[in-house]
Each structure stands twice: as structure tokens, then as C-alpha cells.
């Protein structure tokens, strides 16, 4: 059939398309009248939001406002959830007063670790509400358009930014969304640069550490973490383009939807869809994880360690001690080392494991306990390491299935650890230089 020639010229499909459009024009001549109305509201808004110079600053301000909103507005919800859990915890505590080990499991493991993570669902949900609102209003599509100019200069496809925005929720659907990117090289770059975008699971770590070490600046510190993730993602995309995936990005054509005021129902539905993943994870893996983490922290090779023991001789302590020397220059102790190992399963487990370790040690106020053990510089280095090193195990699985290559999956893991360490170290040195390297000296 390849020899089929046609009366319609070289590209019959285009010729046919033109005929269809001619027919449409004919129909519309009879059915459609246009009156000049000048610029619509949507056009006027785009004049500002898509402005060559204002576009990126406006994007940054909106994202900053998003984090400020999710932190400020979630405070009250966090207190409510916390208070409720403490009440329930105390009730179970008195119930199990006779059995030391069972009481420790419930108090330190379930309530110190598992329940400790639950209030952090409030900022996650509120952030998703804000993201849903920005997305439904039509702004996110513009953000991709605004960023395209910058990305194109770096040789990165503008469409890469769409999965990046999705990554603010969860990297797994974001990496899968890279399927919509046509060019194979562009697609690989998008997949491999996506894990550095900070997902919802990292948020509890920032909220905990920002409140303990940078009180009053939580929203801005969290904003900086997200921006750092975005910068590393863009840098990684640029690096891959210059090295393994040489070439020009394919052209980017995108339709901008009109602006509209999202309905509350839609935004709440959308928030729920994204947030429910975290609820399910909490009810299953984080609960199971709390029991295992408690066991590893309350027991050691010597057996049960007793009330308020030295957790550094527990299984958790030994495990954390194994990798601690590598992180000693950044001020990490075995606790943070252990948190990093466990957080590979899911990043919120970093918070859960720290909660359990401190609870088993007999510390109730974890924020204060943290500030008593680490310097702000170490806290920042830890947040950065959590942000950048290997995404969770599920995301690694997704990278493998989407790249269909063990080589690139392994590359992603090794590269992420190196870049996480280097940037955490730079931040540690810089913050120490301005006097934030002292424990208790925020």
C-alpha cells in the first residue's frame, strides 16, 4: 500500500484537514456572528501573569503564599488532633499501667510514633487544597508556560514542568505523567529529574524541623526547601541534557484554559483524592512501621532495655550508628542516621522514627528535644538530605517501570545520594559560618 499515490498531493491528511476546515468556515458563516468586545478578563489577567518579567516573580510569590497558608491555617487543626490523641493515649496508658512492655509499645510506639505523625496530615491536606485551587483556577497551566522560557534556555522541554508541579503532591503519579511527553529523550529527562521535587510526604519533616529550629519563619523555610527541590530538579534536567541526552527539546505547544473561580466542592474533592493516599498509608504502613520501629528501639541484642533507656544500644541505635560516621561532619548523630535509613520506605517515617526514638528515651516534647541535640545548621542539612536523597521505595519502583532500565534506576539512586550530600554539606558550612552551627543557638 505504500505505493498508493493520491490525487491529494504529498500529504493527503493535511489536504483533507483543510477541506474539513473549509466546510466548517462555510457552516459558521451562517451560524456565528462575532462582535468585537475588546480584551476579556482572562486576557487581561494573562497580560500580567504571563508577563516576560513579572511571570516568574508572580509564580514564586503565589507558591510562597501557598506554603504560608498551609502552615498558618493548619496550626489550629494540628493542636486539635494532638490534644485528642494525647487524651486517648493517657487513657490507654492508665489501662496498661501494670505491664511495662505493653505500656511502652502503646505509649512510645503507637502514640509516640504513629500518633505523632497524624497531626502533620493537616498541613499536607491544606497544601493540597491550595494546589487544587491553583490548578483548578487555570493558573498551573500558565506556570508551565511561564517556566518554559527559562527551561528552554537550559535545553529542557517546557512540558517537563507539568509533572514537576504534580510532584508537589506525590512523585509517583508525577513520574507516570511523564508518559505524556512525546520525545524519548525529553521523557527520560523528565522522569529522572522529577524525584527532587518535594512531595507531600517530605512536608512533615520540614514542619517538625522548621518549627523546632526556625520558629517564626516556618512558611519561608518550607518555601525555600521546595524551591531548592525545584532548582535541583531543573539543574539535573540541564545536566542530563548536556551529557546523556544531547539534543534540542521538541517544540512545546500548550493550550491555556480560561481562568475560572474553582468551586469549593471541586477543590475539596481534589484535595481529598490526593490526600487520601496519605491517610491510607498512615492507616497501614505507618501503623505497622510504628510497631516494628518501637520494637527495634526498645529492644537490643541484650533484650528489653527497660524504662527510659539509652536507645543508642538498641537495634535502631546500632543501625543508625552504622551510617552515622559518614554524616558526622554534618553533625548528624545515630538518631538522624536511623531516621534516614527508615525514611527510604516512606519519607514521613523520618518523623515517625524520631518520634519513637525520643519517646522511648522518655522525651515527650520532641521539638525541644531536637533543639537540645542538634544545631540549626544540622537541622537544615538534614531537611536538605531528606528532600534530595533517594525518593521512597515506591518511587524507585516507578522509576524502574517507567524507564524500563535498572541502569537508569541505579543512576538515579546513586546520583541523588551524592547531590543530597554535597548540597547538605554546603548548607551546613554556610549556616555554620553565620553562627548557626551551635546547638541551642537559633
Amino acid at each position: 500500500m505504500n505505493r498508493v499515490r493520491t490525487v491529494l498531493g504529498d500529504d493527503p491528511e493535511i489536504t483533507f484537514a483543510e477541506k474539513r476546515y473549509t466546510m466548517i468556515s462555510g457552516i459558521l458563516e451562517e451560524c456565528l456572528t462575532k462582535t468585537e468586545t475588546g480584551m476579556t478578563f482572562s486576557d487581561k489577567l494573562d497580560k500580567v501573569l504571563l508577563n516576560k518579567y513579572l511571570g516568574i516573580p508572580i509564580f514564586l510569590i503565589l507558591v510562597w503564599a501557598l506554603f504560608q497558608f498551609s502552615i498558618e491555617a493548619s496550626g489550629v487543626f494540628m493542636v486539635i488532633i494532638e490534644t485528642a490523641l494525647v487524651t486517648v493515649g493517657e487513657f490507654f496508658g492508665t489501662l496498661l499501667a501494670g505491664n511495662e512492655i505493653a505500656a511502652s509499645l502503646v505509649q512510645d510506639g503507637i502514640f509516640g510514633g504513629f500518633a505523632f505523625i497524624l497531626p502533620f496530615l493537616a498541613p499536607i491536606f491544606l497544601m493540597f487544597l491550595g494546589i487544587a485551587w491553583l490548578e483548578d483556577s487555570g493558573y498551573f497551566a500558565r506556570a508551565a508556560f511561564v517556566m518554559d522560557k527559562l527551561l528552554r534556555k537550559l535545553g529542557v522541554h517546557g512540558k517537563t514542568f507539568i509533572p514537576m508541579m504534580l510532584g508537589f503532591g506525590c512523585n509517583i503519579p508525577a513520574i507516570m505523567a511523564c508518559r505524556s511527553i512525546e520525545g524519548e529523550k525529553d521523557r527520560m529527562i523528565s522522569i529522572l529529574s522529577n524525584p527532587y521535587i518535594s512531595c507531600g510526604a517530605r512536608l512533615p519533616v520540614y514542619v517538625l524541623f522548621a518549627a523546632a529550629f526556625f520558629p517564626g519563619f516556618e512558611g519561608s523555610v518550607i518555601f525555600l526547601m521546595y524551591m531548592l527541590g525545584l532548582a535541583v530538579a531543573i539543574f539535573t534536567a540541564w545536566l542530563l541534557r548536556k551529557t546523556f541526552f544531547k539534543g534540542e527539546p521538541e517544540p512545546f505547544i500548550m493550550e491555556l484554559p480560561i481562568y475560572r473561580v474553582p468551586t469549593l466542592r471541586e477543590s475539596v474533592l481534589h484535595m481529598w483524592e490526593r490526600g487520601v493516599v496519605f491517610l491510607k498509608k498512615a492507616g497501614t504502613w505507618l501503623f505497622l512501621g510504628a510497631i516494628i520501629l518501637w520494637f527495634m528501639s526498645a529492644f537490643g541484642p541484650a533484650g528489653y532495655l527497660g524504662t527510659d533507656p539509652d536507645v543508642s544500644v538498641s537495634y535502631t541505635g546500632i543501625l543508625g550508628g552504622l551510617i552515622q560516621p559518614i554524616f558526622a561532619p554534618l553533625g548528624f548523630d545515630w538518631r538522624l542516621g536511623a531516621a534516614l535509613i527508615f525514611a527510604f520506605l516512606a519519607k514521613e517515617i523520618a518523623v515517625e522514627s524520631l518520634g519513637i526514638i525520643f519517646a522511648v528515651e522518655g522525651n515527650v516534647a520532641i521539638g525541644g528535644a531536637l533543639a537540645g541535640v542538634f544545631s540549626p545548621a544540622t537541622a537544615a542539612a538534614f531537611m536538605i538530605f531528606i528532600l534530595l536523597y533517594i525518593p521512597c521505595i515506591a518511587a524507585v519502583g516507578t522509576i524502574k517501570s517507567e524507564t524500563n532500565s535498572w541502569k537508569w534506576t541505579l543512576f538515579s539512586i546513586v546520583y541523588s545520594i551524592i547531590i543530597a550530600y554535597v548540597i547538605a554539606a554546603i548548607a551546613f558550612v554556610l549556616l555554620s559560618a553565620i553562627g548557626l552551627g551551635v546547638i541551642g543557638g537559633a
Partner: protein, 232 residues
């Protein structure tokens, strides 16, 4: 008897909103990412005692064999033969949207056009003579504003009518092409199994367009050489 209805339209025309309006409690998110509806979404609603099965097809601009989304939609319409295909058309962007409508007419689907975002069209200064448009296309056209749930009852009514008395429309192209289409249709009609599964006119158009999938269907059959003669 359940009526099977498919929703189709360009991206960002409010297709998901219409889906949510028709199906009570639909848990589908309405976003603005182009091509958001990548997977097939389904739902049910009742109207006048009749049950309707709704399928949300991927948002697309045309129905070629090149893009996966488009192929999904066209294969669904050809193979599943839904009773009614609701084509959501953005009233504020009719010209580009009607392209898909023409393609659906070529597919000989039983079409209902929902002329959506009438409010936006109005604010842009567009006046659309809906009845005239309906008679020119040969398909029923319903005005809707999905975000305000305007026109939804009317749409359900028109879907019901279309399901009860299907009247597939047809488009006549300029005579040079029509001549070619007719010749091809005559040849294709010889293969009864092929034309019972696919509209002959549609196959002819796709052959002229050199559509990859259709050419592969023809390849190696006795029709192959006869079709080549037409182009010789």
C-alpha cells in the same frame, strides 16, 4: 435496556464537569491539565426510568491512529458502538472544536452536540444560531453552561430522544473527493466482514488520508490491488 452513552470533546471544554453533572456523586476530578482524562471513566444515571451508562473518552482534537488517546476514542466508538455519542463543543472556540464533530460524523456515530461554555462565548461577543447549526450539521445541538448546571435536563432529554430514534448524520465533501470516496466505497463493499464492522465511507476517507491502522487492515486482502488501481 441500558443506554450506552460516550462523552467526547477537545481538552478543556468542560467535559469532566458535564460528566460530574450527569452522574450523581461522580468522583472525578476536574482539572486543567491538557489531556487530564487519560483513562476511561464510567458512571451511571437514571432518566425517565431508563438506565444510562456513561463513558468519558479521552479529550482529543482529532481521531488519528498516531496518538494513543485518539486511537482509544475512535476504537471505542467503532467497536463498542455506543448508542449515543455526546460531543462537547466549546462555544467560545467553535471553529476548532467542530473539526472533531466532522470526524465523528464520518464515523457515523449517533451524535448529540452539547454547545458548552455559552457564557464564555457570550462574553467574547459570539452569537451562535444554534438551530441553524443543528440543521447544517444534521445533529441535535443543546446549549449548556456546565459549570452552572445550565442545560443538563435538556441534554438528558435530547440524549433520550437520540437513543430512541438514531439518525446518524452525513457530510458531503467537495466533488473531487466525493468521486474518490464513492469509488473506494464500491470496492470496499465487496468485503462484507470489513464493512459490517466499519462504516465504508469512513474506511474510504481513511484510505485517502493514508491512515496507518486502516491501511494495515486492507493490506494483503484482495481489495489491496483494486484500491491501488483507483489511485493509479
Amino acid at each position: 435496556m441500558t443506554v450506552r452513552v460516550a462523552l467526547i470533546g477537545n481538552p478543556n471544554v468542560g467535559k469532566s464537569v458535564i460528566f460530574n453533572n450527569l452522574v450523581p456523586g461522580a468522583r472525578q476530578h476536574v482539572g486543567n491539565w491538557p489531556g487530564k482524562t487519560v483513562e476511561k471513566k464510567t458512571g451511571k444515571y437514571r432518566y425517565n426510568g431508563e438506565e444510562y451508562d456513561l463513558v468519558d473518552l479521552p479529550g482529543c482534537y482529532s481521531l488519528t491512529a498516531r496518538a494513543v488517546d485518539e486511537l482509544v476514542s475512535r476504537t471505542y466508538i467503532l467497536e463498542e458502538k455506543p448508542d449515543v455519542v455526546v460531543n462537547i463543543v466549546d462555544a467560545s472556540n467553535v471553529e476548532r472544536n467542530l473539526y472533531l464533530t466532522l470526524l465523528l460524523i464520518e464515523l457515523e456515530a449517533n451524535i448529540v452536540v452539547a454547545l458548552n461554555q455559552m457564557d464564555v462565548a457570550k462574553s467574547k461577543g459570539y452569537t451562535i444560531r444554534t438551530e441553524r447549526l443543528s440543521s447544517r450539521l444534521g445533529v441535535p445541538v443543546v446549549e449548556t453552561i456546565a459549570t452552572q448546571k445550565v442545560g443538563m435536563e435538556k441534554l438528558k432529554k435530547v440524549i433520550e430522544t437520540a437513543a430512541k430514534s438514531p439518525k446518524p448524520a452525513s457530510m458531503t465533501y467537495p466533488s473531487d473527493i466525493e468521486g474518490l470516496i464513492e469509488k473506494l466505497v464500491t470496492i470496499l463493499s465487496a468485503d462484507t466482514s470489513l464493512v459490517t464492522h466499519h462504516p465504508a465511507r469512513w474506511l474510504a476517507i481513511k484510505i485517502i488520508e493514508r491512515d496507518k491502522e486502516v491501511l494495515e487492515m486492507i493490506q494483503g486482502t484482495p481489495l489491496d490491488s483494486k484500491i491501488e488501481e483507483v489511485f493509479a
